[in-house]
Amino acid sequence: MTSVGFVWKNLYRKKTRTFLTFFCLFIAFLLYVALGSIAVVFSIDTVSGELGANRLQTSAKYSMIDDIPKRYVDEITQLDGVEVVTHMTWFGGYYQEPSNMLVTFPVDPSTYFRIYRELEISDEHLTAFLETRRGMVAPIETVERYQWKVGDIIPIGSQIYAQKDGNRIWEFELVGFYTPQQEGMSAVLLQYDYFEEANAFGPGAVGWLTIEISDPQLAPELAQKIDSMYINSSDPVRTATESESNRQFLAQYGNITLMMSGILLAVFFTILLVCANTMAQAFRERIAELGVLKTIGFNDYKLGMWMLSEAILLSVLPAIFGVLVGMGLLIAVGSTGAAAMFIPTPPMSVLLSTAVSSLALAGALGVLVGAIPALSTTRMSIVDAMHA
């Protein structure tokens, strides 16, 4: 047995209590990593970054799920200050199993890649996409995950759109792939022209528009102008900058960042109490024992450090598990379909900094709750301890 072994055994002597404390902290840190990373993603604009500043997004006024007429694309393109307009439609795609969601958009290839310059595609693949009616391009990551090859015919199921014959399993030819230079935007892209012609609902509708404008300063003015153009039509729209639009979507659920901060604060206050209580109990139970150890010759400093180490282990160990599981969950959720579009896997840098800050927080928590028992251990006289 070593000193470390001794601290370890001490930690586990009340198994149920230690387990419950561990579990409590595990959940807290799992929440912290998951919510914390997402909150960071919301507060910094990882989704669209600087590129998003001169992009507007136009969707149906009352619900993002509603369609808007395709002719809006041409009409908006006419406006002064508008450079390019492209459109996307939510296809509700999946591969093989309905549970295996794929974010899939029928798009207009030429305008789409003109706006989304952060998606790198070779000229060869872009040309092939432009020229192949049933063509499809996918992010390199998706291509690798499913081991697709350029030239493969890929069946993509749709939760929303059937073909004219009623069949919901569509077939597309993979003509290329692209490499997103930024996290977040990665969808399987289809030729809108073909989709428009083949789908059972008929032509003329798109999901939403992305508009590139010449000057970010024009954004508020243009957004208002566009909205007023259609205000009295049967399909009114709402326009916002792309980043704002992403936030608005999430704002349906409330002020997420604030809410999460509130939850996290409450959680940490609770685990602080739980941990402090565990350590205070551990200390009280051991007063006589600590007296014996001091009598035997263990010095005050060493015993105090043992107590402190125990508190730090008590908080850091479950934090490590919580952080690992939390990161795993985020990566798993981020790579499965629909959720990925609005709750993308936070970039590795965000994940890592959240992980590091969690562990630092756990360490600080350990020091905080261990300090008093450790100091009391150091100061306690043997005679008093043995009388206790």
């Binding site: 047995m1 002597r13 014996v292 009598t295 035997i296 043997i382």
Partner: protein
């Protein structure tokens, strides 16, 4: 100079504004290899005296010299180190750590030495063999009888090979049979291994095992030579 020499020792406890005078002007000298039984009524200051000799507590006045060391001049951490090398402690209620096996309890004082893991384990087993409890090495205190626990405690006290054993009512919580075993063990340690034993006891029969018997009454020591049965 004697092996253990207490000169004009005074010990007071301060409780708020009230001062409790426990030991007054106490002198004591013991030679190495002695086996002292310290008797006296409850509250007479026996444990207090033992704490001073064992370097757990400091006198209010006077000097305590043990094996050449002047305990009054030592800092807390110096005393801790000195205790770990010089004194083995045995308590009335064994005071083993409940979550450690007998072997690990005995090994504990060796964590303060430079011995390696396997050497510590070997020494712990040797100490357990000395108290005839090797076969219980893997048992936790809760699985042992009182007498067995006290034998483990004695193994813990001797494992670092201290010169002095300080025992505060080591048989106080045991039946006659177990008490006899413990006393025989202390006698062996005294006679065969040359340990100086200082034992507080209320039991005249226990005191019979000692070479010297002293009575403490109201903070004053009264010598009574060979143990007299005077309950």
């Amino acid at each position: 100079m004697a092996f253990i020499e207490l000169t004009r020792v005074v010990k007071n406890y301060e409780k708020g504004s009230e001062v409790v005078h426990v030991l007054q002007d106490l002198n004591l000298s013991l030679h190495e290899g002695d086996f002292l039984a310290l008797m006296g009524p409850s509250g007479s200051g026996k444990s207090t005296l033992l704490n001073l000799i064992g370097g757990i507590d400091q006198p209010t006045a006077g000097s305590v010299l043990v094996d050449g060391a002047n305990l009054g001049n030592m800092s807390g951490s110096q005393l801790a180190k000195w205790r770990s090398e010089t004194i083995g402690f045995v308590f009335q209620f064994y005071n083993l750590l409940p979550f450690l096996t007998a072997e690990r309890n005995v090994e504990l004082p060796l964590l303060l030495t430079n011995l390696g893991g396997s050497q510590r384990k070997e020494n712990a087993l040797t100490a357990l063999r000395t108290v005839s409890l090797e076969d219980r090495a893997k048992h936790k205190p809760g699985e042992l009888s009182g007498g067995q626990q006290q034998r483990v405690a004695i193994a813990r006290a001797i494992v670092a090979d201290p010169k002095i054993l300080v025992c505060d009512e080591p048989t106080g919580d045991l039946d006659r049979q177990s008490a006899q075993e413990i006393l025989a063990l202390l006698e062996t340690l005294n006679e065969r291994f040359g340990k100086t034993v200082i034992m507080v006891t209320h039991d005249p029969l226990a005191a019979e095992h000692a070479k010297t018997v002293l009575h403490l009454d109201k903070g004053v020591l009264v010598e009574s030579g060979q143990a007299e049965v005077s309950a």
